[in-house]
Amino acid sequence: MKDSKLHFRTPLITTPFHARTSAANKLNAWAPWAGYTTALSYSDETMEYTALRNQAGLYDLSPMVKYAITGPDALRFLNRLTLRDVSKLQPGNVHYTAWCDDAGKLIDDGTLFHLAPGRYRLCCQERHLPWLLDSAIGFDVSIEDESEKVAALSLQGPCSFAILARAGLEAAQGLKPFQLMDFAFDGGMLTISRTGFTADLGYELWTTPQAALSLWDHLMVKGADHGLRPIGTTALNMTRIEAGFMIANMDFVSATTALRPDRLRSPFDMGLEWMIDFNKGHFNGRAALKREKESGSTKWAFVGLDIEGNVEAEHALIYDNRKTEVGHITASLWSPTVKRNIALAMLRRPYHAERSGNLWVEIYALRELEYHKLMVKAQVVPRQFFNPPRRRANPPGLY
C-alpha cells in the first residue's frame, strides 16, 4: 500500500508545477485531467492561443500517462504491443504510434520515446497498465507507471527554440523533429524532445518533480522577452485541431471502455493504417487487422472538414444530400490562423472519398439564447490544416 487512506480528501491531485500554475491562473479555471487538476485557461484563452502561434506558450503536460519500459525484451515487447516496427526507432528518437486489442480495435495512440538503448517511455492519454502487463506475458520486460515521477512541460510556438537558446539550452538546436537529447539541469537531468501537439515548432521538456519549479521559473524568466506565457488546455486544444491530431475518448472511444460495439474503431477507421507493419512478426490485433485490410471491411474514415461560413459545428451531424446521416464531427474550430471553419469528423465510407461531393453539416448556432438551425456545405480535406515550414526547419528558426 503506497497511498495514504486519506487520499479521498483530495480527489484531484496537483502537478509538480501547481505552485506556479495556480499563481498564474487568474481565472481560477480548472478542469480534471487523468486525476489531476489542470488549468483550462490562465487569463485569456485567445491571447494564450495567439502566443502559441505568434510567440511561445508553456503548457503543463505532467498529467500525461507515462510508462517506463525497460529490460532485455523491451523492444520485442513493444513490437508485440504497438503497430509500428520499433526496431527502426533508434535511441534518441521518438515516434508516434498506436495499439489495438486482439480484435484490432484501437485502445489508444501515443508517443514512444527511445530514451537510451533498451530504455523506452510510452506516453498516452489513458491508463493501460493491465493491458500492458497482459501483453507482456512471456517477455522479460519491466513496465512501470512513471506518471507521477516525471514532470513535463510543453514549450511550443515559433519562438520556442529562441527561448531554449536564451535559457542556456542552445544545444537543442541539433534536434530534428522527433529527436530527443539529455541535458544537465539544476543538479539533475532534463530531457528535451522536439515533439508537441501544436503542429508548430515546439519542444517537450521532461524532468523530475524536484526540478519542476526551477525549470518553470527559468523558462518564464528567459522567455519573457519573447512573450512566453502559460497556456491552458483550451488554447492547446485549438492548436491540436488545426494540427489534425486525435485524442482517445474525444475523437474515438477506446476499446478499453467502449460499451457500444459500433463505437469501436480500427487504425484503418482512424487513418492510422500507415503505422501497421505486417512484416515485423506477431503483434496485438494483427490477424484481425490483416482480415480488415484484405476484406476492405473498414466502415469509417477520420477526416478533416472545411465547412462553409464561420459558425463552429461542434458535435454536429453530417448528411449526404442534406438527408442521409453519414457521420459526425468530433472536434471543431473557427481557426484564427488559417481563417477557415474547420473540423475533425468521422464519416462512413465511401462518403469520405468517392461520395463526398454532397456533404452537409447541421449546425445549431446559439445566438442570444436561441438556436439558429443551419445546414451548410462541407468539403473533405486533409486533417492537417496548419503545417508551416518553421515546424520542420533545421536548424530551427528564432521566430
Binding site: 500500500m1 503506497k2 497511498d3 487512506k5 486519506l6 487520499h7 479521498f8 480528501r9 480527489p11 484531484l12 480534471p32 486525476g35 480484435a103 491508463r127 493501460h128 497498465l129 493491465p130 502487463l133 507507471d145 478499453t256 471502455t257 467502449a258 460499451l259 457500444r260 460495439p261 469501436l264
Partner: protein
C-alpha cells in the same frame, strides 16, 4: 358480497403496481392484504418511538422509472435519493472504500493493486455491456419459445437480434457470464481478495448460492442493472424508508379509484368450472371478480390458496420444485447515536454508504457452508447501512437507524423450525460482529428487530423467507420463470394471474413484474395499453 373487475391478492409493491395500472384503465379493482399495512417487503414501520425503519428491503435502484412517472409516484410523495460509496472493513484494522469519484476510487483500489484499480474500468465495461442486453427485457413479457403466435415469434426475434447484433466475443462472454460463478468471473479481472469480496456480495444477496456456485454471476447483474436517474448500477434510498414506495403506490391507486382492504388475507382463491371467480378471506368475507391476480409467490399461491384438484399435476410438480430457498435475515436497529468505526477517518464519506465486514471470497463461501449444513452463518455477511446519515426523516436528529441485511440464514435450523432463542442468538451474532469493528456499538442500541426466514415468511408471506420470491438462477429466468409454460403472468386457471417477483424479471423492488402483468391483463381484455414504451437504451 361485493363484485369487482379485478382483485389483487396481496398488497406488496408489485401487487400495488398492477392494481394502479388496472384502476387507471378503468377497472374496479380491489387489493386485499393480510397485514394491517400494505407494502409487503417494501415497508417502513415504526417499532421504536420516533424511529421509522426499512423493515425488509432497504435500498432502491431497480424500481423502474417508467413506473414512477406513469403512476405519478413523485406527486404522491416518493423521493429517491442516491447514496455515497461504501467500505469493507478488513480484519487487520484497515478497509477498502468505494468512492463515487472515479479518480478517488482508482486511487483507493490502487492502495491494494494498481492493476486492479485500472482493471475496474474493464470490469465495469463488461458488466455494463451485459446490463445493456438485459435492461430492455425487463419491461417485456418473455416470449414462449415453443409457441408460433405472432407476438411470441416477434419477441423471440427481438431477443435473437439483440444477441446477434453483439460482437462475437461478447456473445461468448455473455453465455459464460450467465452460467459461471462470481468467484471465477472476478478472478478474470482482479487479484486482491478484499476487492473481490466487495464486488462478489452483489451476486449472493438474497440467493441460496455461494460465491463459488455456478450461476451466481448473473445475480450480480440483477443488482447492477438498475439505476438512479440514469446512473446505471447506482443505488439510492427512498426518502422516509422503503415504505415510502408502497405509500406512494397506495396513494396513486386510491387516487385512481382503487379500494384496499387490509387486516385479513386470502384464505382461498375461489374457482368454479376452471375459472377464478373471486377470493374468500380468512375473516370469512368473500369478494367476486372475473380476475384474481396473485402478488403472492408461486408456491404460496398454488400450494396454499388454490385447491390442488383444480390444477394440472405437472404444473403442481413444477411449482413444488421451484427453488425459493430462504438464505437471509435482517436486523433493524435503532441507535442512540452514530457508531464510531476506528478504521474510518472521521470525515470519511463511507459511513453514508454500504458497509461490509466480509473481506475475502473464502470467508463468504465459509458463511455459505454453514447454510448448507442447515445453520445460520457463525461469521455472517452483513450489508449494513445507516440511511439516516443521508435521510433526515427517519429518526430524531443525532439518532440513527441502521439496517443490516444478513446472510446466510437457512429456512430451517438443521431441519427443525426456528425458535425465539435461535432468532435471538442470530441477532446477537450480528451485533457481536459489528461491535468487533465499532467498539461501544452495543451501548448505542435502543431497539433491534431481528427477522429470520421464519419472520419473513410469517409476516411478509415470502415462502421460506426468500426475498426474491424464488431464486434468480438461469433455470428460473425468462420463459422459465416461475415454471415453464407459464411465464406470461397466466396460470392454468382462467382468470387467475400472477404479478409477484416469482414472475419475470424477478425480485427486488422493481415493479416490473407488476407492470408487465398489468400489460398482459389489459391486452387480454383488449383494452388499450395505458403504459408507454419502456425507455430506450441508447
Amino acid at each position: 358480497m361485493s363484485r369487482y373487475d379485478a382483485i389483487i391478492a396481496g398488497g406488496g409493491h408489485n401487487g400495488l403496481v398492477t392494481a394502479c395500472y388496472l384502476a387507471k384503465a378503468g377497472l374496479k379493482t380491489l387489493v386485499v392484504e393480510k397485514n394491517d399495512w400494505v407494502g409487503g417487503a417494501a415497508v417502513s414501520r415504526s417499532l421504536y418511538p420516533g424511529f421509522t425503519y426499512s423493515n425488509c428491503s432497504y435500498v432502491s435502484s431497480l424500481l423502474r422509472p417508467e413506473i414512477m412517472r406513469e403512476l405519478e409516484l413523485p406527486k404522491h410523495g416518493l423521493q429517491i435519493i442516491p447514496y455515497e460509496g461504501g467500505a469493507v472493513f478488513t480484519q487487520d484494522g484497515g478497509y477498502l472504500a468505494m468512492y463515487r469519484d472515479h479518480d478517488a476510487n482508482r486511487r483507493e483500489f490502487a492502495r491494494y493493486s494498481q492493476r486492479d484499480a485500472e482493471n475496474y474500468d474493464r470490469y465495469s465495461r463488461d458488466v455494463l455491456r451485459h446490463c445493456r442486453f438485459i435492461r430492455p427485457l425487463l419491461l417485456r413479457t418473455p416470449p414462449d419459445p415453443t409457441s408460433f403466435r405472432p407476438r411470441d415469434l416477434s419477441e423471440l426475434a427481438y431477443i435473437g437480434k439483440k444477441l446477434f447484433d453483439m460482437p462475437e466475443e461478447d456473445i461468448y462472454a455473455m453465455i459464460r457470464f450467465w452460467t459461471m460463478s462470481i468467484s471465477d468471473f472476478l478472478d478474470e479481472y482482479f487479484e486482491t481478495p478484499v476487492i473481490k469480496a466487495y464486488l462478489a456480495v452483489s451476486s449472493i444477496i438474497g440467493t441460496a448460492l455461494g460465491p463459488m456456485s455456478p450461476g451466481s454471476a448473473y445475480v450480480l447483474l440483477h443488482h447492477y442493472m438498475g439505476d438512479v436517474d440514469g446512473n446505471i448500477g447506482a443505488w439510492g434510498y427512498a426518502r422516509g424508508g422503503m415504505g415510502s414506495i408502497s405509500k406512494a403506490l397506495m396513494a396513486s391507486f386510491v387516487a385512481a379509484g382503487g379500494e384496499v382492504r387490509t387486516g385479513s388475507g386470502v384464505a382461498e382463491i375461489l374457482i368454479s368450472n376452471g375459472r377464478a371467480t373471486g377470493v374468500a378471506l380468512a375473516n370469512g368475507d368473500t369478494f367476486e371478480a372475473p380476475m384474481v391476480i396473485s402478488n403472492m409467490d408461486v408456491k404460496r399461491t398454488f400450494l396454499k390458496h388454490v385447491d390442488e384438484k383444480h390444477l394440472p399435476p405437472d404444473f403442481v410438480k413444477s411449482v413444488k420444485r421451484f427453488k425459493i430457498r430462504g438464505s437471509s435475515g435482517k436486523v433493524n436497529i435503532a441507535l442512540d447515536g452514530l457508531p464510531t468505526f476506528p478504521a474510518l477517518p472521521p470525515d470519511s464519506p463511507c459511513i453514508r454508504g454500504d458497509l461490509h465486514f466480509t473481506d475475502s471470497i473464502e470467508r463468504l463461501e465459509h458463511a455459505y457452508d454453514d447454510w448448507k449444513a442447515g445453520r445460520y452463518s457463525r461469521d455472517p455477511f452483513l450489508d449494513m447501512m445507516i440511511p439516516t446519515t443521508t435521510d433526515p426523516t427517519m429518526t430524531p436528529p443525532g439518532k440513527h437507524f441502521m439496517s443490516c441485511f444478513v446472510q446466510y440464514a437457512p429456512p430451517k435450523i438443521e431441519g427443525r423450525d426456528w425458535t425465539d432463542a435461535d432468532r435471538d442468538a442470530f441477532g446477537q451474532t450480528v451485533l457481536n460482529q459489528i461491535e468487533q469493528y465499532a467498539p461501544g456499538f452495543k451501548n448505542l442500541v435502543l431497539h433491534a428487530e431481528v427477522r429470520t426466514p421464519r419472520e419473513l415468511e410469517a409476516e411478509v408471506g415470502l415462502t421460506e423467507g426468500n426475498i426474491f420470491q424464488g431464486e434468480l438462477t438461469f433455470d428460473q429466468l425468462l420463459f422459465n420463470r416461475p415454471v415453464p409454460g407459464y411465464a406470461q403472468y397466466r396460470s392454468p386457471i382462467d382468470g387467475l394471474w400472477m404479478c409477484g417477483s416469482s414472475t419475470h424479471p424477478g425480485g427486488g423492488v422493481m415493479g416490473a413484474p407488476g407492470r408487465n402483468a398489468a400489460a398482459e391483463i389489459l391486452r387480454s381484455l383488449k383494452k388499450p395499453a395505458i403504459m408507454g414504451d419502456a425507455y430506450a437504451v441508447l
